[in-house]
Amino acid sequence: MSIEIRNISKRFGAFQALNTINLDIQSGELVALLGPSGCGKTTLLRIIAGLETPDNGNIVFHGEDVSDRDVRDRNVGFVFQHYALFRHMTVFDNVAFGLRMKSKRERPSEKVIAEKVHELLNMVQLDWLADRYPEQLSGGQRQRIALARALAVEPKILLLDEPFGALDAKVRKELRRWLARLHEEINLTSVFVTHDQEEAMEVADRIVVMNKGVIQQIGSPGEVYEQPASDFVYHFLGDSNRLQVNGSEIMFRPHEVSISREALTGHQPAEVRDVRPLGATTRVTLRVTGQDELIEAEVIKDHDSLIGLHKGDALYFRPTIG
């Protein structure tokens, strides 16, 4: 089901949370709303769900204006950053909740509900936890249960608010790959909010970069990274260096650099301040005469120039762009 966001604005007192947002999300797409905290991304997600009412504008699901429709009638699945599992219910009852709340006419029998719940718990690979309470689970398990609960009512749209924000780094990585795979399988129109550019790049089909209540750029991960529409997008999507050359300033990413131990043409001298192996790449921090800001260069770990390189050595470098 497609989502159209038309001229949405929202104020909280004097704070303009969203300013005339327009966005089209295609059916089956996985879209990331990316931006720093306070940029309005969560507010936008809550407006799509119906948890927040916009001051202006409309939300259209599959050609149908749902702006005046109540939360419970929008048929969206929602996953919260802090899970929001019902603490007094078992995992099974949590997942069954949405089905049991249906009106008598639509409610399936307990037997059908049990089948459906176990099917969902198997999908998130946690069927063995059905009788536990949320407080007995780890963060990653809780979030997968929250996802199973959201999917139980067969929503047409899945909204995720910083779904991995409260998890530690390793679980976060596992879970977001798992989510991307799951999305491929069930192909549900999904929108997720994140402040982590790596997460957005890894999972999303398209990224919507937001700042201060305004959309900065919409594009595929490749587009927003390679062709940033503004300085803000450029800086937000990755590390960057600033280098003063003949009074003008050029910006480049740490990997967009060529380094050498000898003075080659176009290369400028620098002093090595730090050498950090990061796995597949090694980061060299350089100091250039004439500017306080340090330059970071990332090269593959087998690079010839790295052999025997120490702090204090001289190194020559050249940005490979611009």
Binding site: V71, F86, F97
Partner: protein, 287 residues
């Protein structure tokens, strides 16, 4: 180094063994003098002339009618205050609105105003010479010096207990579980019944118990609006006072020990709900 620091730190917190012993002894002395001794006196005075006099004082018609009125006033004000309390706590903790802090202050008003003044307000409002007095008389409605006045006075003084207990609990729990329930298709009533109520259950019971204790024991406000009509508008505390003023000490203490028994029952229930509440909180905080 760091391991030897730990015990010495807690030793510093404990202070010298002498100081500890003196404090604990002092606490026990105060407790015995001001709580245990009066309890003992109430019971011993009540049983001074044997169980026969004790029971006849309790099953005397005026005493039974006082007990009945106390239970009626408590029985009416308790459920009403549960509804008011939950509604007020819900408003304060789940919504943002203008004048919220004023509302929270007003909820505390019965705690800060003397109960006698609360009673007087009702007399001034509903009494024969009061603001609404003539109108009530025309319609033959009796509020002051009758059961409705006693219920109203009890309602007023016990209003804050449930709300006060629930507001911090509901604020801490936030609104996300309720939002999740709505998103999963629950109606407002289903959300309250299946999500909100189970989460506040023990806090609510604790508030109800406190409310109950106060409703049964309330003297000041009820005394002003009751009119002390024996067998009609006397509650248990008022009945005790009348008997005592008539130098009928044995009967006074017998009825007092009846009130005491109700209080102890309430206290046991409170202890139980409190332990459930803390165990619920501690399991939540360990994660």
């Amino acid at each position: 180094m760091s391991t030897s620091n730990l015990p010495s730190l807690s030793a510093a917190r404990r202070g010298s063994p002498w100081g500890r012993r003196i404090l604990i002894t002092a606490t026990w002395i105060v407790f015995t003098l001001f709580l245990l001794l009066p309890l003992y006196i109430v019971l011993s005075e009540a049983l001074k002339e044997g169980f026969g006099t004790f029971f006849s004082a309790i099953i005397e018609p005026d005493a039974l009618s006082a007990l009945k009125l106390t239970l009626i006033a408590t029985g009416i004000s308790l459920p009403l205050n549960v509804v008011f309390g939950v509604a007020a706590a819900w408003c304060v903790s789940k919504y943002e609105f203008r004048g919220k802090s004023i509302l929270v202050t007003l909820i505390d008003l019965p705690f800060s105003v003397s109960p006698v003044i609360a009673g007087l307000v009702y007399v001034l409002l509903f009494g024969a010479q009061g603001l609404l007095g003539p109108w009530l008389q025309d319609h033959d409605i009796q509020i002051v010096f009758a059961v409705p006045g006693i219920v109203l006075a009890t309602l007023f003084v016990t209003f804050p207990f449930v709300a006060r207990e629930l507001i911090p609990l509901m604020q801490e729990q936030g609104t996300q579980e309720e939002e999740a329930a709505r998103l999963l298709g629950a109606s407002g009533w289903q959300m309250f019944w299946h999500v909100t109520l189970p989460n506040i259950k023990w806090g609510l019971i604790y508030g109800v118990v406190l409310c109950n204790a106060r409703a049964m024991g309330e003297f000041g406000a009820v005394s002003v609006v009751s009119g002390h009509i024996r067998g009609v508008t006397n509650t248990l505390p008022l009945h005790v006072e009348i008997l005592y003023n008539e130098y009928n000490h044995v009967a006074a203490f017998s009825v007092a020990s009846l009130l005491l028994a109700l209080a102890l029952l309430t206290l046991l229930f409170k202890q139980w709900s409190e332990s459930r509440l803390t165990s619920q909180n501690s399991t939540r905080e360990t994660h």
